[in-house]
Each structure stands twice: as C-alpha cells, then as structure tokens.
Amino acid sequence: MKVVVNFDLCMGNAQCMMAAPQVFEVRDDGMLYVLQEEPPETLRAAVEHAARLCPTQAITIEK
C-alpha cells in the first residue's frame, strides 16, 4: 500500500490524522506530514477511512 497526498488540494483539516495518526500528522505549521508513505497492511482500514474523510479528497491509496 502506497499513500499519495495531493498537497495542492490539502487544506490541513486534520481529519486524516484522527483516522490514522500513525500515518498522517498535521503539525503546528498547519502542514500535513505523511509519516509512512508505505504503511503496513494492518493500517489499511485506517488509511482508507482517512482518505474517505478528507474534505478535499486529497489522499489516494495506490495498490
């Protein structure tokens, strides 16, 4: 699983961080940091939930 964020779309709403804090972190500069670009399969459900919640649909999951 590979996590791809379109940073042109990301508005820093931090919904992904609530769904999958092991993978997504919004820091105090308001920017999103992807902590693991290829997270383990055990996190797939959480990452998919994060992608669904994203208000700008900026997260896609490849493979």
């Binding site: 779309l9 105090d28 669904r52 208000p55």
Partner: protein, 395 residues
Amino acid sequence: MRTVVIVGASLAGLSAAKALRRQGFDGTITLIGDELHRPYQRPPLSKQFLAGTWDRARLDLPDRGDLGLDAMLGTAAASLDLASREVTLEDGRRVRFDGLVIATGARARKPRWHAGLRGVFTLRTVDDALALRAYIAEGHRNVAIVGAGFIGCETAATLRGSGCDVTLIDFERLPMLRALGESLAGLCRDLHEAHGVRSVFGAGVEALVGRESVEGVRLADARIVEADCVVVGTGVTPNVEWLAGSGLVIDDGVVCDSTCAALGSEGVVVAGDVARWQHPHYGPRRIEHWNNAIAQADAAVTTLLAMPGKGVPYAAVPFFWSDQYDCKLQLIGAPEAGDAARVVEGALGERRFVMLFERDGSASGAFLFNSMHRVAAYTTTVEAGLGRVTEGIAQ
C-alpha cells in the same frame, strides 16, 4: 436483502453505496439523484470553485467505478410506498427495493422575497455556483450577501479575494452568532471588516429592489443596500416532501432512532443532512456537515444490513470547518449558549488560539482558529466530556 435503493446522489448517498460494498453487500444498488451530475463535493462551491482555483473535474467525488451502481440521475424521487416497497420517480418510473437508504439532503432556503429578478443566487449546487460565477464575470461586482452564516461568510471572503465589493447583511447582531457565540462572532465581524467587507447587522431584509435585474436590497428599516448581485445564504430545508403520506415520521427531516433506522418502517435507514436521528448525547438532531454525511452513511448501512433491531447507536461528535481569507475555523462538538467559554491556547484576537466550551464541568465543544494541529487532541477532549455527561444521565 438483494436490492438496495439509495435516494440522494451526493456525499451521503455515495458514501452509503461504498459502505454497502465495503460491508460485503453484493446485490443490486440503485442510486437515484435529482441532479444530472455524478456525486461531487459541495464545500469548495463557496471557496476554491467560486474563486476559480479549482476546475469542475476536481469537484467530482472519487468513485473507482468498481461499485457496480445502477445510477438514475437527473430525476428526483416523487414518492415512497412502503407496502409495495417501491420508490416512484418524477418521470413515473418505479424502483423496487428490499432495503432503502434515504439521503436526499437539503436545499437552500429561499425567503419569500426571493423571486423574479436576475442576479439573485443561492449557493448549494454546482449549477448555482456556475451561474453565480458567470454573473460576476459579466461585470456584476457589487455583491450583497444576505445571511452571515458559514456559507455567507465564506462567500464574502472568496468574493473579496476576487476583488468584488461585498456587503454582508444579517438580522442578527453579529455573523455566525448562533453557532459561535458572542465573542467569536465579534472576532469574525472584525475579520471581515479588516478585509474591507461592509457589514449591515441587526437588519432584516424586507424586499429586493430592481426591475429585471436586482439593483439592491431594501431593509426592514427602509434603508437600501445597493447591489447588482445578491447571494442568499439563509440556511437549508431538508428534502422530505417526496415522503409525504409514506408513513415515515417527518419533523424537520426524517425522524430516526439512535441507529439511523427510520421510525415507522423496517429496512429503511437515513443518512446525511436529511436525517433527524436520536443522538445518544444530544437527543433529536440533524447535522449538516461533511464528516457526518460520511460517518452516518456508514452507520446507517451497518443498521440496514444487521438484523432488525440490531443496529448500533450512532453518536458522532459534530465537526465542521470553514476557510475564510487565510484563516481556518474549526468547531468540534455542539456548544450551546450558556456554556462556559475560555481560551486555553493563545489569546482571542491572536493569529492562533483555541477556545474550550464547558457545561457542568465537562467539555462540550472546542473552537480552533488556525490550530489544525490540535484537532485530534480536542476531539478526544470533547468526546471524553460527552461520555461523562451521558454516564451522568444514565446514573
């Protein structure tokens, strides 16, 4: 259950379809929608799309095409017959179902004076946004916005950013007063005024002025605000008319139990803006926010696929955000007038701060201003506060 019909093809409806497949439903899914468009995102309509920084294709909600939907778009549902388990569309077609998801959302409320003139817009659909954009591009750049709720305030910010003259009008004393309370609403007024928005608050609208095209807004005190374009953002009305006589309970939305099952039926669930469900913490409530459309669709589908009476209560904490100028406003929970409010990070008026709301010593909500990195932490705080309140009631 072999056939599920979803009425409403926006975020809640599409989320329900995805949830059905994710939860293993392999029968037929029919998605009915009154708009011709495939499901798209509404939040950018008052922001990136209105500003012109997002193009039309970016609005589409992702659908990898593997949902196997039977989409019937461009025709609204006209009635529901629970005895024969059929939805009838406006063009007379009938669709039979075993399970039904109602996700018909809400539409922009149009005040009685909203009629007849060119240059008067609501902002709910992509067609609304395209029409407004085109009218402004024709050179109508003196805009009055009636209703200083979130849509009105976002529209004001976006159009100021596009160089329009903007007047924000509301019968309340301050913008977003009911949602945010006195001190935060005052801050929002200051934010808009600092960006050159004229504000006319505490003033009801009596009528629009103009012959063919709008030329201004006449207030209840007879003042006239000149404008060649008017945007009306005075709230929404749930789309429930098609359910009249169906036997479902309608009261500002479709009334549901705590599991999102519609009262007075079996195998009918409700999600999104149209659902008035028994929230375990707040009681009967409708939530018109993005996250709720997704999470409630998941919950409603879980209920639909479970045995009757085996659904799980849905207890989401409300969350919404608003982008105005270069500021991010986020509200977690549902604070009410009378809740104690105190700033817990930064200070009011600073570039960044957090305000916590408390009721009976428990957190009832949090307002974050340019503090996105704190969303997860304060969501946990508010969830814990609600949990304590509910335990207290149970005892």
